[in-house]
């Protein structure tokens, strides 16, 4: 921490409602409880409702609306969905049980597990056609609750959030583009803070504690103990007495006597450089006894151009780059060429004649596609681009490949977010109003006629409008990515900046062209095994 003046930027936690929620010991429940009830509702409808994806809340709400709202929230505000995460509620119960438990194994404390779980979720989504199955979606939600509970029960920190959760990992990566970030109002307060409650957590022994210095005039009571007299009750000699009236009038604040947890992902607010790993749970703000933690405005994606805002680690860099490629792959799964590709791959491997069940053939060819396009291709291309840019930039001996990839990895956030917005906004906007008749259907199925019979004519925005939004997201993401990569090249390579930039510019342009081609493809909403 360096000496710094108080922060004067817009602080969302100064807004009346949010300020109150951020100070309430159980304030997160305000957002979590509605989400928990909603998740339970989705499970209920998924298990018991009609097994048509378009008629069931379990498929319409998560796969159409949740995903669209997530990317919009990340772009416009921050990681709001982690803040309100319902899976963290049983996790909290489990966490109480595991306070004295083990820490997450050191060897797994990185983003490798999270990256694999994210890849696995995307794979399962495509393989089992989760978007088409209310039942499987309900099971996925149940599995999520069970996994969050189990991991938090056995490990002390928020291991599920920080090291495993695929949804949270997605949110972490793209919240780096968000315009809000946790910080502190006065860094000097943190410098002198003894307890560091924001990260360690806080326990108030009584509901009222004094937060300013208690007067020493008149003198505070001082007990002088003789040997064997361990407490005032056991015979300490009172050397002075306190003036109870002045004590009562000392400034105080109300606190719950219950524990207020510190940051589950072990972030220390005055040193936070990035939204990576921040769930916006606001536990740090609740735990801080000095009311010194805020949620400050910043330029959207400000951290992406800051050198060293992210750790120079392979797991973080490849996660971000691979996620951009997965954005393309996920959308590619909805276009006709993917079926030709998968069939060709299966035939070339001789799978249809091997006596395998269709689901197994699907899994093999999809798995190969995911590993090739989601892992091998981005890793190979980014390492190749790093090697080329180091050479052309004239710094082959100075910068390692790891540092070069890490320096350019943030440039893949805007283009990746552009891909995901283009894809998810397609479903969200074309199905914008479909949640209405599905909700009506659910209510009427349960003899609740408040909103009348389902109006199945409600759809969404016209495809032409949606297409314009998709293209805008793609172009904007590409433009910002190119600018970020240029900034990085200028910082790293100075006079050779344009040469060092070349490889990354080509890679980003190739990605954008692939995305452009994808958007031009007719969308096919398939929902059945390819090799029936």
């Amino acid at each position: 921490m360096s000496a710094a003046s108080p922060v004067t930027r817009f602080d969302a936690l100064r807004l009346p409602g949010l300020r109150r929620v951020a100070r309430m010991p159980r304030g997160r429940l305000v957002f979590q409880l509605p989400m928990l009830l909603f998740a339970l509702l989705l499970m209920y409808d998924g298990f018991s409702g009609p097994q048509r994806a378009g008629q069931n809340l379990a498929t319409v709400a998560p796969w159409v609306h949740y995903r669209g709202l997530v990317v919009l929230a990340l772009l416009l505000a921050g990681n709001l969905f982690c803040a309100a995460c319902p899976f963290a509620l049983p996790r909290t119960v489990a966490h109480r049980l595991s306070v004295r438990g083990r820490r997450w194994p050191r060897i797994l404390r990185g983003k490798w597990v999270a990256a694999v779980s994210l890849l696995a979720l995307f794979f399962v989504y495509e393989w089992l056609d989760l978007w088409a199955s209310p039942l499987l979606t309900a099971w996925l939600i149940a599995a999520y609750f069970a996994a969050a509970f189990a991991l938090e029960a056995f490990f002390t920190e928020s291991a599920f959030c920080k090291y495993v959760c695929p949804l949270g990992t997605f949110n972490f990566v793209y919240s780096t583009a968000s315009p809000l970030q946790i910080g502190v109002r006065q860094p000097d307060v943190c410098r002198t803070c003894v307890g560091k409650d924001c990260i360690n957590g806080r326990y108030a022994a009584q509901p009222v504690i004094r937060v300013s210095e208690i007067t020493t005039s008149p003198p505070i009571p001082v007990f002088v103990y003789g040997e064997g007299a361990a407490s005032p009750a056991s015979g300490g000699e009172v050397a002075a007495t306190i003036n109870a009236k002045s004590f009562d009038s000392a400034p105080s604040t109300q606190h719950s006597a219950l524990i207020v947890p510190g940051c589950g992902t072990l972030l220390f607010p005055p040193t936070i450089q990035s939204n990576l790993d921040c769930t916006l749970c606001l536990d740090c703000a609740r735990a801080c006894p000095h009311d010194n933690v805020g949620l400050f405005a910043r330029a959207p994606g400000a951290e992406l151009k800051k050198p060293n805002a992210w750790p120079a680690r392979w797991d973080v860099s490849l996660l971000v780059i691979c996620l951009a490629f997965l954005g393309l792959l996920n959308a590619f799964g909805m276009t006709p060429p993917v079926y030709d590709l998968l069939e060709g791959l299966a035939n070339s491997l001789g799978l249809p004649g091997a006596g395998l069940p269709p689901a197994a053939i699907d899994a093999i060819v999809l798995g190969l596609l995911f590993v090739a396009v989601g892992v091998v291709l981005p890793a190979g291309l980014s390492v190749g681009a790093a090697a080329l840019s180091r050479r052309l930039g004239g710094v082959s001996k100075r910068d390692s490949l790891r540092h070069t990839v890490a320096a350019f990895a943030p440039a893949f956030v805007p283009i990746g977010l552009g891909f995901w917005i283009a894809h998810y906004s397609f479903h969200f906007l074309t199905g914008l109003f479909t949640i209405v008749p599905v909700t009506q259907r659910f209510l009427t199925d349960h003899q609740i006629g408040w909103f009348g019979a389902p109006d199945w004519s409600l759809g969404g925005l016209p495809l032409g409008v949606v297409g314009m939004i998709q293209l805008s997201a793609l172009i904007a993401g590409y433009g910002v990515s190119m600018w970020l990569a240029l900034q990085t090249a200028q910082r790293l390579y100075r006079r050779n900046a344009m040469l060092g930039y070349l490889a990354w510019a080509l890679l980003l342009t190739g990605l954008m062209l692939a995305g452009w081609w994808l958007i031009q493809q007719p969308m096919e909403m398939r929902g059945s095994f390819l090799f029936d």
């Binding site: 994806a53 378009g54 004295r100 069970a146 029960a153 479909t434 199945w456 969404g460 929902g527």
Partner: protein
């Protein structure tokens, strides 16, 4: 102490898995009929035109026969098409009778992909039969 805590956690985890597993056994039987099911009151054949099915205007031709094999006339025939993917408004249509027992429903495939079409036949006496067909629409 640690051993008892681990045992308690394991029991809770097992309980959760048990409860979620129990939820699956209470699933209702799907209400839709498979496409090739034999229907006691009417036999329904559905054909989409033009074929192969592509995005755009189309029609569903529904041929309804009685159990004795004669054309079933004077019925109300309707259809509802849902995509297998959530988030698409369904397509709804009502049929008009041309030749005896042959009903034509003006239709539109609004998106390429997999569709599930329910064709429902209602008789004046209240008899109602639904036939479900799966259709893949190409772009």
């Amino acid at each position: 102490m640690r051993g008892s805590r681990s045992l308690m956690l394991a029991l809770i985890a097992a309980l959760i898995l048990l409860l979620t597993a129990c939820g699956g056994s209470a699933l209702p039987t799907p209400t839709v009929l498979p496409a090739d099911s034999a229907l006691p009151a009417y036999q329904i054949a559905v054909r989409g035109e033009p074929e192969p099915h592509t995005v755009g205007d189309a029609s569903l031709v529904v041929i309804v026969m009685t159990g004795s094999g004669t054309p079933a006339t004077g019925l109300t025939v309707s259809a509802r098409g849902d995509m297998t993917h959530a988030g698409m408004a369904p397509v709804l249509g009502e049929g008009t009778e041309g030749d005896p027992g042959v009903y034509t429903i003006p239709w539109q495939w609004t998106m390429a992909g997999d569709w599930i079409v329910d064709v429902t036949v209602r008789a004046a006496d209240g008899t109602e039969v639904t036939q479900t067909v799966n259709v893949t629409v190409e772009s």
